[in-house]
């Protein structure tokens, strides 16, 4: 009897896990994320609740560690292990806040996923459009999907109308570091301020 209960619990657990798993096909993966985010955004919950839910999605679908490394660029090699840990911790909080805040401004986004182009075994670009509304023109949004682990694709960049958000972020960080004589104190304090606001 105990064995049967264990098997049932095991099966339920597995099925539940599968329900939350995203497709390994990059195009379907993005479609699923868009649908999931939309459900959160159209619901009549508070902005804080929506941002919390969006952060939960972001943790599952974005390669935050990879993006953090990319954003720091060549300066990464100048960090001590302790600074690197602090940076990774700060970057994750900064990214999640920035990601959820950008998205929560949209109340009912209509995104159509159009096509996917495999660049190489590591990257696929998924193309989509944010449809025009009476107030805003149509926007092309491309998603850089990291497919190094084919079963577990992750987003590394969003390219809006040909402009890479990751590159913009990287140049922003580089500017702060350069204006601080290649130190990291100013970057860390700025990130802390952003997280706290």
């Amino acid at each position: 009897m105990k064995k049967k209960i264990f098997i049932v619990i095991f099966l339920i657990f597995n099925l539940t896990q599968n329900c939350f798993a995203y497709s390994s096909d990059p195009k379907k993966f993005i479609s699923e994320i868009v649908d999931e985010a939309k459900k959160i955004l159209v619901a009549t919950n508070s902005k804080e609740f929506k941002e919390k839910k969006l952060e939960e999605i972001a943790k599952k679908i974005a390669d935050i560690k990879g993006m953090g490394k990319y954003t720091l660029g060549k300066y990464r090699k100048n960090l001590t292990d302790e600074q690197l840990n602090e940076y990774e911790n700060l970057f994750e909080k900064y990214f999640l806040k920035s990601f959820s805040s950008r998205l929560s401004d949209y109340s009912d986004p209509k995104i159509e996923v159009i096509s996917a182009e495999v660049l190489n075994p590591k990257y696929t670009i998924v193309r989509s459009v944010l449809l025009a509304t009476e107030q805003k023109p149509e926007l092309k949004i491309d998603w850089r999907v990291y497919t190094n682990d084919p079963e577990n694709p992750l987003i590394r960049d969003l390219i809006v109308e040909g402009l890479s958000l990751a590159r913009t972020q990287k140049e922003e960080f580089a500017s702060i570091i350069e204006n601080d004589n290649q130190n990291f104190n100013k970057l860390f304090s700025t990130l802390k301020e952003f997280i706290a606001k």
């Binding site: 990879g66 990319y70 401004d105 402009l163």
Partner: protein, 270 residues
């Protein structure tokens, strides 16, 4: 006197942009390098101050005007946007020709003829419905980029915003190449060749200013998001400006052709 100053400024900026170009042995290599999306600063301290001034001006003047404009009925805004876009296409046409893009020039000229006549001075856009797709806007800075002139250094102009040495020369070149400017400006100088006082130079600035308000109104949320999520908004705007110019100069809409993958590869190698 002002004209003389403008010519000297244009010449010095052009020389600045050309020197950068001369530093490259092979323009193709330069085009393919990852540095095409970056430019050194001409005078960062002054540019940051001008940026702050522009930012405050935007908040105090342009943003409220854009919000007011957006409260107008949608057909009115669309018609206004179409009209400015139609007039602006004349500058695109001259630059299509300078870039040797004759099919693009044909498309732009066809659109202008149809939208000005059937579309009642460009208020409506029947050309798109007839299959003449709206082309990318072109200007003289893009044309120089197409010819191989490098961007030169980056700086910020009061009111006009971010630019590079090449694009600043392009701004001056635009005035000479834009038929709308020629009609309004030259008419005023020769005291009414066309014989109509309404074709005066200040109308050109109304036209450019109104076009800017239309653009600002279409991008209120994007500006807001940028303001709220940037930790160094000056650097963000610089990056977005340079990426956008590079994309437009390449004339390529494909993300895979305009973005360099090398810096992504680098993070996986260590």
């Amino acid at each position: 006197m002002i004209r003389k100053f403008v010519y000297i400024l244009a010449l010095s900026l052009f020389l600045q942009a050309s020197v950068v170009q001369a530093g490259s042995e092979d323009n193709e290599i330069l085009k393919k390098s990852s540095s095409k999306n970056s430019a050194s600063e001409c005078f960062e301290g002054a540019s940051r101050m001008i940026f702050k001034f522009n930012y405050a001006l935007d908040g105090a003047v342009f943003e409220p005007i854009a919000k007011g404009y957006r409260s107008l009925p949608q057909p009115l805004r669309k018609g206004t946007g179409n009209m400015f876009s139609n007039l602006r296409s004349l500058l695109t046409l001259t630059n299509n020709l300078l870039q040797g893009d004759f099919s693009g020039a044909g498309n732009t000229a066809g659109r202008f003829a149809i939208n000005t006549t059937v579309g009642i001075f460009g208020i409506f856009d029947p050309a798109t419905k007839l299959g003449l797709a709206e082309p990318q806007k072109e200007d003289f800075g893009q044309t120089m980029g197409f010819w191989g002139v490098n961007s030169g250094c980056y700086f910020v102009l009061p009111i006009l915003g971010p630019t590079t040495a090449r694009d600043a020369v392009g701004l001056i070149g635009n005035a000479f190449l834009d038929p709308v400017y020629q009609i309004t400006h030259n008419t005023e100088i020769s005291n009414g060749v066309i014989g109509n006082g309404s074709y005066s130079e200040h109308n050109y600035y109304y036209y450019r200013g109104s076009g800017a308000v239309d653009f600002r109104a279409k991008n209120i949320e994007s500006f807001e998001s940028l303001k709220n999520n940037s930790i160094d908004i000056y650097a963000s705007v610089k990056s977005l400006y340079l990426q956008d110019r590079n994309k437009k100069i390449s004339g390529n809409d494909s993300t895979t052709d305009t973005l360099n993958d090398n810096d992504w590869e680098e993070i996986d190698s260590n």
